[in-house]
Symmetry: none
Subunit: 403 residues, 2 copies
Amino acid sequence: MTLDTYSDIAQPADAHTVLLVLDGLGGLPDAEHSQTELEFAQTPNLDALAAEGICGLHEPVASGVTPGSGPGHLALFGYHPAKYYVGRGVLSALGVGFDLRKGDVAARGNFCTIDESGVITDRRAGRISTEKNAELCEILREIELPGAELFVQPVKEHRFLLVLRGEGLGSGVGDTDPHETGKTPLEPAPVDDASRKTADLLRRFLDEAGKRLADRKPANMALLRGFSSIPDWPSITQSYGVSGGAVAAYPMYKGVSRLLGMSVYDSDASMQSKTQLVREHWNDHNFFFVHVKKTDSHGEDGAFAEKVKIIEEVDAALPDLVGLGVDVLAVTGDHSTPAAMKAHSWHPVPALIWAKDHVIRPDEVRRFGERPCIHGSLGPRFPGSSLLPLALAHARCFDKFGA
Amino acid sequence: MTLDTYSDIAQPADAHTVLLVLDGLGGLPDAEHSQTELEFAQTPNLDALAAEGICGLHEPVASGVTPGSGPGHLALFGYHPAKYYVGRGVLSALGVGFDLRKGDVAARGNFCTIDESGVITDRRAGRISTEKNAELCEILREIELPGAELFVQPVKEHRFLLVLRGEGLGSGVGDTDPHETGKTPLEPAPVDDASRKTADLLRRFLDEAGKRLADRKPANMALLRGFSSIPDWPSITQSYGVSGGAVAAYPMYKGVSRLLGMSVYDSDASMQSKTQLVREHWNDHNFFFVHVKKTDSHGEDGAFAEKVKIIEEVDAALPDLVGLGVDVLAVTGDHSTPAAMKAHSWHPVPALIWAKDHVIRPDEVRRFGERPCIHGSLGPRFPGSSLLPLALAHARCFDKFGA
């Protein structure tokens, strides 16, 4: 089933649906715990929703695939990330909150080390500090390109964002990063006629960058990859007929929400601030995406107990959120980030759908956790992209398919 | 999700993954047993792996589809057999261990019976003996074709393999087998220009075959179908970045392994010989496919007890295999072959994935069997083609998808 199909059956709905995403929610038992973070957490409210609702675990991209934050969220909005592929340049721009516009060409940059003969000896320039990176970005930002604006913005460690803005810039340019050491950087090669101008500008930029970074070893050159522009995708409203409001604190999630035509409301990390924003904009939207970041951050830091604590805080705040009059609530993560792995992982992500009125056919799951969810009616490994359409069905957002 | 996506995220991995395939593993209760062959077997080691790992049942091709050995194995390697379709000619060649080369055109042949007017009265020539078949193949092998080498090799009963080798031979030729009696054999019809020469050679071959077999009733004619050449598919290494070693005794499995770029090591039927080969080549590969044939053979023979015995022998040999230092082990079959049916079947196939380190999120399955596996986190009916990617994820063969 494609988004087009949902778009064909979308109908106006009064009911309010909330998609609550605890980033990196899924976890693993570790050396000290026989339970996952979510299983270990005391979550009376989530458990009650699970008991009244339906549960399962989803794979955001595909079996065995560890999702990045961008693809993970696209899946949660029903945009399968293998079809709705967005380049690293655009993801980098979204990640730092850059105001990327239609037609801009964005790339992910790495500072790297080259030797006297131009051969790459370290693709990450020894992972220079973010402060050093910021200094170098200032140098690159001075480069002038004829007929185009240049933006260079530091990301983390050796990574930066490059954006070209101008008329007639295609984004079909091959990576200059050969993805291995012992080689020289590649020339920026256009893959279509529309991208010749972009490639020319990039060649100038890289020549100049090489000169200006020459004495900045280990960061004496720049590699670029993932050239991309804002994609022309259907909005959430086009896909499902809903008006969407996104409540998030971090640039990546706000950026993806904007890509899909949602209004974005800046929150802080607390559930109180998020619930307050939903309350304020209650009448502006019938769909809210509420994003909680810290579950992922603590997972990345290997902080099992802190991840548990955030889950418990969210749980405690749920009655206030649901009490706004939420008709349908979906709770899940965009991927797993087990504290035991200190990283995103491929493990399926627990999910629940709850609805206020009697359109839910409850399953037998009584607790919200990875192992209980295996036995839920959503299944132990369902495609992440079917979660939101299913939640919206419970809000009566879709008419009958066929007569 | 396509193989391309896995290929995009493949990264070098030291960990060793073993895919252990018990051919035709899945079974059924029969008149005398309330359990399946696997459920009935005493398998303490498989049960322990199931308890520590994750379990489920897969469908190699699709719901209700009974896989042949070729498609069943392609699925297990992650090559969905609906997309990675290989003609019967090539499968026949693999099945008899014929040294098929790029550009060869292979076909599956049947000896058949025709009446005086050339109408087919028996498409299988009364299932002549394999010995008779071998005699007839010698006759056909004598036929001379201008500009091409001809190979004719007996298979079983009325079936043989035909291969043409030469320059410029396309394999786009329609079956000459009309697939029903009461009709005359069809002319070999080219479906593209590249296959005209092939069709011409086949017409000569069939004219000549008709003459030479005329007095050999019931096997007085030959039908050909499934014209095909070695496909141009990505190798296991291209798809997943792993180096693969296949340990098998039978031609079909060695052939499919070779198609996918694996090194092939000839074993006998014993697990001891297979484990020894893995040990010898441990440092040459980080992925091993180990094939056990007899579970299927006994299933085909309707020999419930013998199939149970093979499963128990494999179980007893597992500690030696795992003890080599296996990091990730997947155990499954390429399809079900219930002794009660004496044939391949469409029933889902039990599967488990176990990993040495703590990247497994265990489910609640404690025994390896069809019914226990229903409740596993792999799900009761997952696509067979996702098993290997998932196993390889546990060996850290894949980087994150998207930023």
